[in-house]
């Protein structure tokens, strides 16, 4: 998209020289770097519960964030009013972080180029509501039809269309139009006299509505949610203690996100507070493990043409054959660590300061047949699906919770197991990876990552993985 065609130019009447003036104002107290992040966000959501479409909402949010960096210091201010006076005021507030005379004469902006990873002609947010409402109705019907033991179904559909513009004092002006959509289904199953069990499934990405009509239909997600709920009816409580764990492909890749991803974000390492600090070049995983963070995969939920600081996203190798090779950098950390940005500067909205974040984090496929991996385990746990996870960056301890798992006995999957929380230590856990499947799969597109109060969409993925030793937090 060109600046002159953007909503910021056409509707809000912002001219290029306005941006240059605001940046000069932001640097008027002597800061080293400044940027402006404009955002125009349209959101919609639809919810069905008890087969009734109970909630349909739509919203608009507009604003600009002004950031000034002076050495290690950051000043930030934002405005939800795009009038020149309000932006100028925000720029002056952000400028307070620096104390001195300006040493910038003038900023001249040139339009930069990013990728074109989500060439969506019509964003889902721009389609008729009646078409989108049909998605949750179909999901509701399909989940209920799956099995008579399904007694509650909730489905929600949400999309947004974010138009962003980043202007930096280094003269770069980038624009992007970022569509995002997600369909989620939750189902409860029950047998007479037993306790209910829940199943959940969902997916989406930076896609058009056709994705849900042709590729991953409401019925696909609905049946998956219902299948998990019904499967869990026969489940037993999780075992407790150290054992061999096999992770299925796809969403269980949340392991990488928690165990290594956060610990490799440059801000934590610059400050020396990560369990991975100072370990560059060291072995932190078995040599079977190569871990990538790639923001350039077409139509993925975690992908971006440019990050929220105007840098094109990249494919970054974090761990190569078990050796730590890279951090995820944003503008501030890369300046201070004298390294290149990795296109990993992200923020939740114009009201938030950017920081290094993941995009799509996954492990490269290995050689093993997934069936052989399971056959190789005399006694252990196979985890097929997960809820969420969390990590303590400093100690490196992380947990993630399996919503659907199975006991492995004599090389075969036997009883379903519910609520198995797995716990491990980031720099140690992947050293016990002894087999990597040839079946790399990325998740369906439901991930939300939280850091310091900011949420951003992300993706994860792994092939089937065998981890020889991990602690399972059950009761048996």
């Amino acid at each position: 998209m060109r600046f002159s065609e953007s909503i910021f130019s056409t509707r809000f009447q912002i001219a290029r020289h306005d941006l240059e003036n605001h940046l000069a104002e932001a640097l008027s107290a002597g800061g080293d770097y400044a940027d402006l992040y404009f955002e125009y966000l349209l959101t919609s959501s639809i919810g069905i519960d008890e087969s009734m479409v109970k909630s349909v909402t739509e919203g608009v949010s507009v604003g600009v964030g002004v950031r000034v960096i002076a050495g290690e210091r950051t000043g930030y201010a934002y405005s939800d009013d795009l009038s020149p006076e309000k932006i100028r005021k925000a720029a002056r507030v952000a400028a307070h972080i620096a104390a001195g005379p300006s040493h910038v004469d003038k900023v001249s902006l040139n339009e930069g180029q990013g990728h074109n990873l989500y060439a969506v002609a019509m964003a889902p947010t721009e389609t008729a509501f009646s078409e989108r409402v049909e998605l949750v109705k179909r999901a509701d019907r399909a989940a209920r039809a799956y099995d008579p033991r399904i007694f509650q179904v909730q489905a929600s559909y949400a999309d947004n269309l974010r138009e962003v513009m980043v202007a930096t004092s280094e003269g770069v002006l980038t624009l992007d139009r970022q569509p995002l959509a997600r369909l989620s289904v939750s189902a409860l199953a029950r047998v007479e006299g037993g306790e209910p069990q829940r199943g959940h499934a969902g997916g989406g990405g930076r896609v058009d509505l056709d994705f849900f009509l042709r590729e991953k239909t409401p019925e696909y997600f609905a049946r998956e949610a219902a299948r998990e709920a019904v499967a869990m009816l026969d489940s037993v409580a999780a075992p407790a203690g150290e054992m061999t764990v096999v992770l299925g492909p796809g969403w269980p890749g949340i392991l990488l996100h928690e165990a290594v991803g956060h610990g490799l974000e440059a801000d934590f390492n610059r400050k020396g507070v990560s369990a991975f600090s100072g370990r560059m070049g060291q072995r932190v995983a078995s040599e079977l493990c190569t871990v990538i963070d790639d923001g350039t995969i077409s139509n993925r939920r975690g992908s971006l043409n440019v990050d929220d600081e105007g840098h094109p996203t990249r494919r970054n190798v974090l761990i190569e054959n078990g050796v730590l090779t890279g951090y995820l950098q944003d503008k501030l950390s890369s300046r201070l660590m004298k390294s290149a940005s990795t296109g990993s500067g992200r923020r939740e909205s114009y009201a938030h300061v950017p920081m290094p974040r993941m995009t799509n984090t996954f492990m490269l496929a290995g050689q093993s047949d997934p069936a052989d991996i399971i056959r190789s385990v005399p006694k252990g746990l196979y985890c097929a699906n997960f809820g969420g996870g969390q990590v303590d960056i400093t100690s490196g301890n992380f947990v993630f919770s399996a919503s659907e798992s199975y006991l492995i006995e004599d090389g075969k999957l036997t009883r379903p197991v519910r609520n198995a929380t797995l716990i491990g230590n980031g720099p140690e856990a992947l050293k016990y990876v002894s087999m990597v499947g040839n079946d790399l799969r990325l998740d369906e597109g439901i991930g939300i990552c939280g850091k310091e109060g900011q949420s951003v969409p992300v993706g994860v993925g792994i092939p089937t993985l065998k981890i020889d030793k991990m602690t399972v937090g059950g009761t048996q």
């Binding site: 909402t57 201010a77 972080i97 009201a351 969420g388 100690s395 301890n397 929380t421 399972v472």
Partner: protein, 452 residues
């Protein structure tokens, strides 16, 4: 903010009138405005300053038995026109729901009198003064012990805002609120062992904020006691939750008594009203009327007066937490717990939600345990409210012969919430509010610790 207050209250009423004129049977409008400030200091140097104000409006309309919602941060004439048009149009694609709709007029109301939610002093300190508070808190942590070698910083945050609500059944109300908080995250190091912890305090008024030095020293002590942790063997032992961790159980129970979860049978407490669900030593109370509380408000997000609700009394489940919709589904009355952001149907929230204080000092609880686990932090989301299955990552100290003996980490604690509630053997006398959710120290008779 003073010049804008009448304007925004009038705007909320005007949006309701315009929605009704455009065809809504009923309408309700929420407007939020607020100013936030944050200063962050790390390793004794200023690191971040953030300052901004924002405002936005949300509208929900009911037409027949259908509802539509919208929100906008664009309060221009064009933005408001779109807000109204959008909510009206969206109602057309929803389904008739016989339970939808606003509270009955006689249910609407507000608590009278000063609830002490706003104190102008949060705005009186200049930027340098605010930075100085964060600097002093971090310095106290860094100076507490040579093993405090690093820090994720200290923050001073403040907020002052106004909440405005009007509906087409004659309710119009607004209230201001303020808060400020100071937090510190020190990092302790000893050989290869590196651990962080945090401590904080928040208050509605700057004058009531704890001394920065006290917050910093507590944070340092918490990080230091985590050094050189042991991963213990898998075993079943008594578990003691310190207050900060016990409060997370209150949050779990909030979901379990949440009216929406109840009518959908998504909670292990659905259908258990009047039954014994916890140890008789346990009472759980929701009280949105406590002056100055972080969960206090004169009215809920549907315009129903806030109140005090006893949820569990002496182990017996007495009430769920309900908004108008959940109450109608269950054939009950709202408990004044409607909560929402700017848009969508009302959800359910809590006021000041807490386990009632007990009688035993926490030291006495620990002294009575030969072998057990004192939990100081939980991570992960392994709580299933449908079944009550509970399994979370835990950090803490091992109790040996009645004393806190050594640090423990990389373990899990697991059980069933049903059994954990019934298994509460002791309730501490140390209830203290640092937010809207609070609990005293709790001892649970037995849980599984998952380790080696």
């Amino acid at each position: 903010m003073s010049s804008g207050e009448n304007h925004l209250s009038e705007l909320a009423r005007d949006i309701v009138r315009r929605a009704v004129a455009a065809g809504a049977g009923d309408a309700e409008c929420t407007i939020e405005e607020g100013d936030e400030f944050s200063a962050n200091v790390r390793m004794r140097e200023l690191e971040n300053l953030k300052e901004a104000g924002s405002r936005a409006a949300g509208l929900r309309i009911v037409r027949g038995q259908r509802t539509g919602s919208s929100y906008t941060s664009d309060l221009s004439e064009e933005g408001i026109a779109r807000l109204v048009k959008s909510a009206i149009e969206l109602a057309d694609v929803t389904t008739d729901d016989p339970h939808a709709g606003l509270p009955e007029p006689e249910e609407l109301g507000a608590i009278e009198g000063d609830l002490r939610l706003f104190s102008a002093d949060v705005d009186t300190l200049d930027t340098e003064g605010r930075i100085a508070l964060a600097r002093r808190a971090e310095a106290a942590a860094l100076d507490a012990d040579p093993r405090i070698t690093n820090s994720e910083g200290a923050s001073f945050d403040s907020y002052a805002g106004r909440h405005i609500f009007a509906n087409s059944r004659g309710f119009a109300g607004d209230y201001r609120s303020s808060s400020c908080s100071l937090s510190v995250v020190p990092v302790a190091k000893d050989g290869e062992s590196m651990e962080r912890d945090f401590w904080y305090h928040s208050a509605r008024s700057l004058g009531r904020l704890e001394a920065p030095e006290q917050i910093g020293r507590t944070a340092a002590a918490r990080a230091l006691r985590r050094l050189n942790p042991v991963k213990v063997a898998t075993q079943k032992v008594p578990v003691v939750f310190e207050p900060r961790v016990a409060a997370s159980l209150v949050e779990n129970l909030f979901e379990a008594v949440h009216g929406m979860m109840i009518y959908r049978h998504e909670s292990f407490l659905a259908g258990k009203l009047g039954e014994r669900v916890a140890s008789e030593k346990l009472s759980l109370i929701d009280d949105a009327t406590v002056p100055g509380g972080f969960g206090t408000s004169p009215f809920d997000d549907e315009g129903v007066a806030s109140r005090r609700t006893v949820v569990i009394e002496g182990g017996v489940l007495k009430s769920y937490l309900l908004n108008t919709y959940a109450a109608r589904k269950l054939g009950m009355k709202t408990t004044g717990n409607a909560s929402r952001g700017l848009t969508g149907n009302a959800g359910i929230g809590h006021g000041n939600f807490f386990f009632a204080n007990g009688v035993l000092p926490p030291e006495r609880i620990i002294a009575g345990i030969a072998d057990g686990f004192y939990v100081t932090e939980l991570i992960g989301m392994g709580v299933n409210i449908v079944t009550g299955d509970y399994s979370r990552g835990a950090v803490g100290l091992w109790i040996r012969n009645g004393e806190l003996a050594f640090a423990v980490s990389e373990v899990t604690i697991a059980g069933k919430l049903q059994d954990m509630l019934m298994g509460v053997e002791e309730v501490g006398d140390d209830l203290e509010f640092r937010g809207s959710v609070a609990a005293p120290t709790l001892k649970i008779g037995e849980m599984t610790v998952g380790g080696k």
